[in-house]
Structures are given as structure tokens and as C-alpha cells.
């Protein structure tokens, strides 16, 4: 037991170092790019005839501290640790309040989209399995083939194309408007984009669990098909599905940028594009920091849930060394 506890401690420590390295690495890349890029947020001001060159120089000196990338990065990291993410050069507001305003909209969209995808995808995957448990094997096969074909078509379409198709097909009251519009359209597109992955993964996991011995035993005992699926098959498939769910959150973060820009949803993705157009480095750095924290949080959460679900992982996670095996 002591060995397993020690292993878990080592693993946790290693993961912490890894997480810190990846967060700092992402933000450092961002800073290094800004350092070597020609021009900055004040380049456009230099062209303004109403502003004296000295005034622009003073602004630049005020908002762009230091010169070396390491110096700037260190100053930013020190402030970030103290809860200060800087000041947006474009909207003249603290970055933290800007993020707080936008994060709600993005989180809402992401939660709704993913709940849609997992709800519908899970049901679609359960339907053929339920038919199969009720010994309608032929219908199961027909339904499964149809769903597989549909799923591969949707999966082959890039998200941008799905978004455009949705724009054309949507009723007028769902279309994006300057004051935000309805969440229905972006949430539906996000849900649709993730539906095939969720469906394929769930049905694959279910079919491999259904082939196991305890399911046959349950059938022999005469358990009801729904009970067999929901109480016995699904929890055993969770082992595979939890990492997929966490991966879908980090994937959705990436998709948000495209989706929010095309469908006019005022969230973090849209903010990132406008920040890029205006070279608003403090906002971009904060966004990179936030997204890497979310991704790492999801990875940790999924690992923790997996360890809870499957006690085997707690002891077998560290592969035995060669010497131990031979001894």
C-alpha cells in the first residue's frame, strides 16, 4: 500500500511540474512572437496626424515595459501571480474584467453544446444496443449501419462549413444580431460537430462491454434490457468515455474560436480574433493562460474520475520496471 501511495505522490508531483511547464511554455511562445514581430499595438497610432511622435513614444514607454522578452515575461508572470493580468491596449479596460464579461457567454455555449452532443449521441448509441438486448438483432444492424453512415458524413464536414450551412437553414429569429442573438444556433452547431465522435466512441465502448462475460450472465439471469444497459454496461464503459469527454472540452475550446467568429457569439473566441487583429498582447496572453489552465484542469479531472472508477489503475498505473519483473 505504501508503494502505491508513494507512486501516486510521485505521479502527482510530476504532473504538477508538467502542467506548470506547459502553461508557462504557451505564454512564453506568445511573448516571444510579440517581441520579434515587426510593429505593435501603437504602430497604427504613428500614422495619425493628430498625434505627435513624442506622444506615441510616451504611450509606448508606458504600456510596453522593458525590452527583452525574458524581462517582459517575468514582469507579466509576477503580476499574473498577484492577480493582475494587465490592461487591454484596445478597449482600455483591465484584462481580467474583459475576460470575466466574455467567459460567461463562452461557458454557456460550451456547456449547452456539449450537453446536446453527449445527450443525443449517447441516446443514439444506446438505441441500437437496446434493440440488440431485446433480440431484434436485424434492426440493430440496420439502425447501426444507417447511423454510422450519417455520422461519417457529418464528421467529414469542417466546423466552418457546418456553421455556414446552419446560417442558411436557420429561422430568422435565430440569426446573429449586433446585440448577441440567440444561443440556439451556435449551440446546435457545436452539438452537431461533436455528435459523431460521441456516438462512435459510446457505441464502440458499449459494444466491447456487451461482449463481456458478466453481461452474458446478466442476460442469463433474465435482467431487463434497460437495466442491463444502464446499470451494468454504461458504468463499465465510463472508463473509456470519461477521457473522451475531457478531450471534447479541450477540443470545444479550439472550435469556439471559429464558431463564435462565424456566428457572431460574443465570447472568448471572438475576443481572441479581435485581439489578434488589434495586436492586443495582454489579452492574448491572458487567453492563452486561461485556455491552457482549462485544458490541464480537464486532463486532471478525467484522470481523477478514472482512478475513482477503476481501482486497477491506481496500482497498475506505473508500469513495472524490468528488474522487478525479472526478480
Amino acid at each position: 500500500m505504501g508503494g502505491a501511495g508513494q507512486g501516486a505522490w510521485n505521479r502527482g508531483w510530476r504532473r504538477g511540474v508538467l502542467a506548470l511547464a506547459s502553461v508557462l511554455g504557451s505564454v512564453l511562445v506568445c511573448f516571444a512572437l510579440a517581441q520579434f514581430a515587426p510593429g505593435d499595438a501603437f504602430t497604427a497610432l504613428e500614422l495619425d496626424p493628430a498625434l505627435a511622435p513624442a506622444a506615441v513614444a510616451r504611450l509606448r514607454a508606458e504600456y510596453v515595459p522593458g525590452s527583452g522578452v525574458v524581462h517582459r515575461f517575468a514582469a507579466w508572470a509576477w503580476a499574473a501571480v498577484h492577480g493582475d493580468l494587465g490592461y487591454s491596449l484596445q478597449s482600455h479596460r483591465p484584462v481580467l474584467s474583459l475576460l470575466r464579461d466574455r467567459a460567461g457567454a463562452s461557458a454557456e455555449l460550451m456547456v449547452l453544446g456539449l450537453v446536446l452532443a453527449w445527450g443525443c449521441g449517447g441516446l443514439l448509441a444506446l438505441a441500437p444496443a437496446w434493440l440488440g438486448e431485446r433480440s431484434h438483432a436485424r434492426f440493430e444492424r440496420i439502425l447501426e449501419t444507417g447511423l454510422h453512415a450519417l455520422g461519417s458524413i457529418v464528421a467529414a464536414l469542417p466546423l466552418g462549413v457546418l456553421a455556414i450551412a446552419a446560417l442558411v437553414a436557420a429561422p430568422a429569429q435565430w440569426l446573429p444580431s449586433p446585440d448577441g442573438g440567440s444561443i440556439a444556433l451556435p449551440a446546435l452547431v457545436l452539438g452537431l460537430a461533436f455528435l459523431p465522435t460521441v456516438y462512435f466512441q459510446t457505441s464502440h465502448a458499449l459494444s466491447s462491454v456487451r461482449a463481456k462475460g458478466f453481461m452474458m450472465q446478466g442476460r442469463a439471469h433474465g435482467l431487463a434490457p434497460w437495466r442491463l444497459l444502464l446499470v451494468h454496461a454504461l458504468p463499465n464503459a465510463a472508463d473509456v468515455l470519461v477521457p473522451v469527454a475531457s478531450l471534447s472540452v479541450s477540443q470545444a475550446l479550439v472550435e469556439l474560436v471559429v464558431l463564435e467568429t462565424l456566428l457572431g457569439w460574443p465570447g472568448l473566441g471572438q475576443l481572441s480574433i479581435t485581439a489578434a487583429q488589434n495586436r492586443d498582447l495582454p489579452v492574448l496572453a491572458a487567453l492563452v493562460l486561461l485556455t491552457s489552465l482549462v485544458v490541464i484542469g480537464c486532463n486532471w479531472g478525467s484522470e481523477w474520475v478514472q482512478m475513482r472508477c477503476n481501482p486497477q489503475l491506481r496500482t497498475a498505473a506505473a508500469p513495472p520496471r524490468r528488474a522487478e519483473v525479472e526478480a
Partner: protein, 264 residues
């Protein structure tokens, strides 16, 4: 069958620009957003078989060039990712000491929010950045984000193979690492690598199209599938100009071909 179709696609992508009847950037200001014309014998220079876009450029010519550009960019994004994955995967399987390093590196790369970094890269480049610079940024970021999953799968498959009897027999007969790799591992791993290749190319093309739709891909006036679909962001254009959907005729079959029969 599938391999033949892939070869056909690659040949078509290489040859397509040669067949373009007009320049992809020539603007016919007299025929902006003109519908496809199949009638008999107007003067050859003004025929637009697939209509024109919002600048009066010939959609058919642009589609041919776009098929080539988008396919090549997709391959250029996927090949380095695959090469890195194979190198790291096989290396980690053959030299177990190297394995934790590969795992750590992969985890760092996988938690990189690559699209946000890409946005930052785009912001760092000047507004009139060359297509080459943007393509290079796409290739580097896609490679960084995409290699770990493929590398881990290849490593696991190679380790599985290394425990089989025929490998043991080869080792007892005095085979070195290079021989094992060339004669035993690679032939067995080839189908897996081919599958990952198809998946990575499909993911790369898909990402490229979506990025071009939000203005983060290759710059206009270069025709790519995403750039050609971009005018459809305008509601009026999307509902009236059905011929601008033409890139889907090339894009969807290619993506279906690549993800066809690949078990997720």
C-alpha cells in the same frame, strides 16, 4: 480500391492547375457574381462554366487551383506530424529510457491551446504577411498539436509487437535493432501508420478550411477551399449564389475518402 482513389486524388491535385482556363486572380468586372453559363458560344474569354465570385473571378479556374493548394497544404501539415510521431513512437518503443521523455513532451504539446497560439502568431505577423510565412506557421502549430496521440498509439503497437515470439526468435538469431525495425516492426506497423496518415490529412484539411473561413489561413487572393467558401458568410450571397458552394464538391469527397473505413 481506397489506395487507388487516394492516388487519383493526388494526381488530380497535381494536374488541376494546368487545366484552369483562366487565371485564378483575373477579375471580370462586367460579370460579378454571375451564374454558371453553359449556353452555346459566347466569346471564349468570358465563359464562366461555374459562374464568378464577388470580384468576378472565374469559380471553375479558382476551384482547380484551390484543389491543388488545399490538398498540398493539408499534406504539408500532416506529413511532418506523422514523421515526428513515427520517429518518437518507434524510438520510445526501441529505447524504453526515452519513453517517459516522449510522454512528457507529448503532454506539454497536447495541452497547448494551439488555435489561440495561432491567433497570437497571426497577430505577430505583419498584416500583409506572405503566404509562405502563414503556411509555415500552420504547419509548425499543427505538427506540434497533432503528433502526440499518433506517437503514443504507434509506441503502444510497437511495444506489443516487440513481445511477440517472432521478434524473440529474431533477437535470439542475433538480429540488431536496425534489422528488427526494418524487417519486423515496420512491415507490421505500416497499416497503422497509413491509417494515421489519412486521419491526420483529414484533420489538417478540416482545420485549414475552418481557419480560412475566419481569416486565419492563406491570404486572399490565393484560392483555397476555405477562401472560396468565405463569401458565403454573407447571408444574401449564401442564399442566392448556389454556385459558390462548388468547393464542397471537391472537399467533401476528399474528406470522406480519407476518413472512410477508418474505425474511430
Amino acid at each position: 480500391m481506397r489506395r487507388r482513389l487516394v492516388v487519383l486524388w493526388l494526381l488530380a491535385a497535381l494536374a488541376a492547375p494546368l487545366l484552369a482556363p483562366q487565371s485564378y486572380r483575373a477579375q471580370d468586372r462586367a460579370a460579378v457574381l454571375a451564374a454558371p453559363h453553359w449556353g452555346a458560344a459566347p466569346p471564349a474569354a468570358t465563359t464562366h462554366r461555374l459562374g464568378t465570385d464577388e470580384f468576378g473571378r472565374d469559380v471553375w479556374s479558382r476551384l482547380l487551383v484551390a484543389t491543388s493548394l488545399s490538398s498540398m497544404l493539408g499534406l504539408a501539415m500532416a506529413l511532418p506530424a506523422l514523421a515526428l510521431a513515427v520517429l518518437v513512437g518507434l524510438g520510445a518503443a526501441l529505447a524504453p529510457r526515452f519513453s517517459p521523455l516522449a510522454r512528457c513532451g507529448g503532454e506539454i504539446c497536447r495541452s497547448l491551446p494551439w488555435i489561440f497560439v495561432l491567433v497570437a502568431v497571426r497577430a505577430a505577423l505583419p498584416l500583409n504577411a506572405s503566404a509562405g510565412a502563414i503556411a509555415a506557421a500552420l504547419v509548425i502549430l499543427f505538427t506540434t498539436a497533432a503528433w502526440p496521440l499518433a506517437a503514443w498509439t504507434i509506441e503502444a503497437a510497437a511495444r506489443d509487437l516487440l513481445q511477440r515470439e517472432f521478434i524473440e526468435a529474431a533477437v535470439l538469431l542475433g538480429a540488431g535493432r536496425w534489422h528488427l525495425l526494418r524487417r519486423h516492426l515496420w512491415p507490421n506497423l505500416r497499416p497503422l501508420v497509413a491509417t494515421y496518415f489519412a486521419l491526420l490529412v483529414a484533420a489538417a484539411i478540416s482545420a485549414e478550411v475552418s481557419l480560412e473561413l475566419v481569416g486565419l489561413g492563406l491570404p486572399q487572393p490565393l484560392p483555397t477551399w476555405g477562401n472560396m467558401l468565405a463569401p458565403l458568410k454573407d447571408y444574401t450571397v449564401a442564399t442566392r449564389c448556389w454556385w459558390l458552394y462548388a468547393p464542397l464538391l471537391a472537399l467533401v469527397p476528399v474528406l470522406m475518402l480519407l476518413s472512410w473505413n477508418v474505425d474511430t
